[in-house]
């Protein structure tokens, strides 16, 4: 009785402030702008009452904190690790955020997560998939998404299955850009190719944001691998595909490391050359049958951004829900309490929009339930083709005969 009266006496509870750190200007700004929309949708779902089976959707605000609303505070790190750290510290010390979600770039996630560790504030790596971030044994680092090693493994599991059913896959070609993303991805793929017995017909590292990729494409064309494994950001993906078309090169198969190949913009520009492309993914719209909340969330997102949810935005969205769920269970905005709650997270996959089995973090903060899927671009949509438990259709193979 007394507790309730004092809660009433305090009036409306303070907002729960959460820092959101992404590139909002410069070459990577598109990632940040989209992230903003995704996170605002998530905040809306938490703060207002929705009839959806998602953590925090029913009921307004964080119930255990008296209905406190989640308030997002956005900051731009301009793709620079030092600026990212400066913004993280500012968010924590000036804006008093209780957690930070970011970062759109692994190099910035590296410094931001260390700052968060030092201030004992949880950091949720929404979309940065570099495996090297894991190895630093941070206690306040949590990654709901799979990392590139897991994604590449899914790609090779799929290829093994195709090979086992009689399809010819002898050679692979690795094409990757030269930043952390490309380096980590290709390292994983190289190791898997060796381990699973695929010959490396081409292993090409190119300079990101090059004015021309013609020679690079020529090299791949000469090598003619059975499967091309590109790791590219948006800009390069468009240029790459255009260059392939201009050189009259149709790869037999493409299995992409998402990113550039998961962006609508790329398909708007060069979609007709990419029929049959397969990409690893964290998310697919056509799983709405297995994840009932997808439809509603996508509508909300589309209303703000005029795009469908994709790999990045779906992960950013769910990160906030996972965080809010932890705050709810922690009954506190204190960093270490939220951290404990995050470590104890156990959300079944069906209560998310992701194809994951569940959300559960291991002692390094990696979500072990973050099973990747593979999707294929057919008839201007993405169709889930792997794993068998979630596949909506079987793969069309090869991409180009």
């Amino acid at each position: 009785m007394l507790a309730t009266r004092s809660a009433w006496a305090q009036g409306a509870p303070d907002d729960v402030r959460i820092g959101i750190l992404f590139p909002l200007s410069g070459a990577n700004a598109p990632v940040g702008i989209d992230a903003r929309h995704a996170l605002e949708v998530a905040a809306d779902i938490i703060n207002r009452s929705f009839d959806l089976d998602l953590p925090g959707a029913r009921g307004a605000g964080i119930a255990s904190l008296g209905g406190a609303r989640v308030r997002l505070i956005f900051a731009d790190h301009q793709s620079d690790p030092q600026k990212g750290r400066s913004e993280a510290e500012r968010l924590i010390t000036q804006d008093k955020v209780c957690a930070i979600i970011g970062a759109g770039l692994s190099s910035v996630a590296a410094t931001v997560s260390v700052s968060c560790e030092r201030y004992r504030v949880p950091f949720i790596a929404a979309d940065t998939s570099s495996p090297s971030l894991q190895r630093r044994k941070l206690k306040f680092f949590f990654r709901p998404t799979a990392h590139d090693g897991m994604f590449s493994k899914a790609m090779f599991d799929f290829m093994d299955a195709q090979r086992a059913s009689g399809r010819k896959i002898d050679t692979v070609g690795i094409l990757h850009e030269d930043t952390i993303f490309g380096t980590d991805s290709s390292n994983g793929q190289r190791a898997l190719a060796e381990e699973r017995g695929y010959r490396l017909a081409a292993d090409i590292k190119y300079r990101a944001n090059s004015p021309s990729l013609t020679t690079e494409v020529q090299k791949i064309k000469s090598a003619a691998p059975d499967v091309l494994l590109p790791t590219c950001y948006q800009t390069d993906a468009i240029l790459l595909v255009k260059s392939m078309a201009q050189l009259g090169y149709k790869p037999k198969n493409i299995i992409a490391q998402a990113s550039g190949f998961a962006e609508q913009v790329v398909y708007d520009a060069v979609g007709d050359q990419l029929r049959g492309l397969i990409s690893r993914a964290s998310f697919a719209l056509d799983l709405a049958g297995k994840r009932p909340s997808i439809g509603a969330v996508n509508s909300l997102f589309k209303a703000r951004s005029r795009k469908d949810l994709n790999d990045n935005t779906s992960r950013q969205f769910i990160s906030l829900l996972i965080l809010a769920n932890a705050i709810e269970r922690a009954k506190s905005v204190e960093g270490t309490r939220i951290r404990e709650a995050l470590a104890a997270t156990n959300i079944p996959g069906i209560q998310t929009i992701m194809p994951w089995t569940h959300v559960q973090f291991d002692q390094d903060g990696q979500n072990i339930g973050a099973d990747p899927i593979l999707i294929q671009y057919i008839n201007k949509r993405f169709v889930t083709i792997f794993p068998a438990t979630l596949a909506v259709a079987s793969a069309a193979w090869p991409m180009n005969a």
């Binding site: 200007s25 731009d76 750290r85 400066s86 410094t111």
Partner: protein, 335 residues
């Protein structure tokens, strides 16, 4: 033709002027050192560290660019070498960053000498472009060599606070004082150079190009030495930066934008002047940080528009640099 060697000025007024400069320097040093008593906000202290660092590195750049007249837009190379040297020595061999700074500095100085030899034959814009492409080559090498960790960069291990490793979990004060010390050193070096043979030679060459021919070999050697000193001090700044951020990758220490950012404070404040770089940094860095932090969160790009407009306004209002507000032209001003 007689050799033109201006005689050193030793009259009393001049000596007093020099003493006053030192005194002014001391006052500023103490004032900045006392700032953290009044400013405790972490973000503002971070801005202070960056301002002092950029002032120091820009002052180093100024020695070569302003006084000696060789405009380099490739100083990010030395900054990066300093950062990587300190990082690699610490992460692989647990060698303290203090030694890392010195090794980075030494390596950069040697490289500057090696590069100076062919590069100083180039004039004007050709020299500038040469410095740009050399720095870009450095960036590409750092990005592709396993030695430097390639694109993955180098992460400093997270440990306890220590002056030996220059790692401090939350406090910015040690970094403030270290950056201030670096600025003091570069300022002093500049102050000494102003009155040295080099200073006189360079001013003579600027005023009278024919003097260059008669001074020939001496000029060349002095330029080489200036390049080495400038590179050495810039590299120390880079090593400091690596310890400060505790994570470096090629794009975050060797990109072209850094080369530009080392030159801009000097240009803004007054190129070839004693106080120019510090004044320029004091305006430019807080401006950059504040427009990003308080106007950048929207993602609309307006913070960049604001920043750009402000730079143009400042550049045009006082094309000779802010310092020209303060100085009457004296015989000691270079150029």
């Amino acid at each position: 033709m007689a050799v033109v060697t201006p005689a050193p000025v030793t009259n009393a007024a001049h000596v007093t002027h020099r003493r006053r400069q030192l005194a002014a320097g001391g006052v500023v040093l103490v004032a900045v050192a006392l700032l953290p008593l009044f400013v405790t906000d972490i973000f503002l202290l971070n801005v202070l560290v960056l301002t002092l660092l950029y002032a120091a590195v820009s002052q180093s750049w100024n020695i070569l660019g302003g006084y000696c007249g060789q405009i380099s837009l490739g100083h990010a190379l030395y900054f990066g070498i300093g950062a990587y040297c300190a990082s690699l020595l610490y992460v692989n061999f647990e060698i303290t960053p203090w030694l890392g700074m010195l090794s980075g500095g030494a390596l950069s100085a040697l490289l500057a000498l090696a590069l100076g030899y062919p590069c100083f034959r180039l004039k004007g814009h050709y020299f500038v472009i040469a410095t740009i492409v050399i720095a870009e080559i450095g960036l590409l090498l750092a990005l592709n060599l396993e030695l430097t960790g390639a694109a993955l960069g180098i992460q400093w291990p997270i440990g306890d606070d220590s002056w030996l490793t220059l790692q401090f979990a939350r406090s910015k004060l040690p970094y403030v004082y270290l950056a201030l010390a670096l600025l003091a050193v570069t300022w002093l070096v500049t102050w000494v150079i102003e009155e040295s043979r080099w200073g006189y030679w360079w001013r003579a060459v600027k005023d009278n190009p024919e003097a260059a021919q008669s001074l020939g070999v001496d000029i060349f050697r002095s330029k080489m030495a200036a390049a080495a000193v400038s590179a050495f001090l810039t590299a120390i700044g880079g090593a400091f930066y690596a310890a400060f951020v505790a994570y470096i990758d090629p794009d975050s220490v060797m990109a072209f934008r850094f080369s530009l950012l080392f030159a801009l404070p000097a240009v803004l404040g007054g190129i070839g002047t004693l106080w120019g770089p510090a004044l320029g940094a004091a305006i430019l860095i807080p401006l950059t940080e504040v427009t990003r932090s308080y106007a950048g969160g929207s993602g609309s790009g307006l913070d960049l528009v604001l920043y750009g407009v402000l730079i143009i306004v400042v550049a045009l209002l006082r094309p000779d640099g802010i310092v020209s507000f303060l100085h009457r032209p004296t015989r000691n001003r270079a150029g």
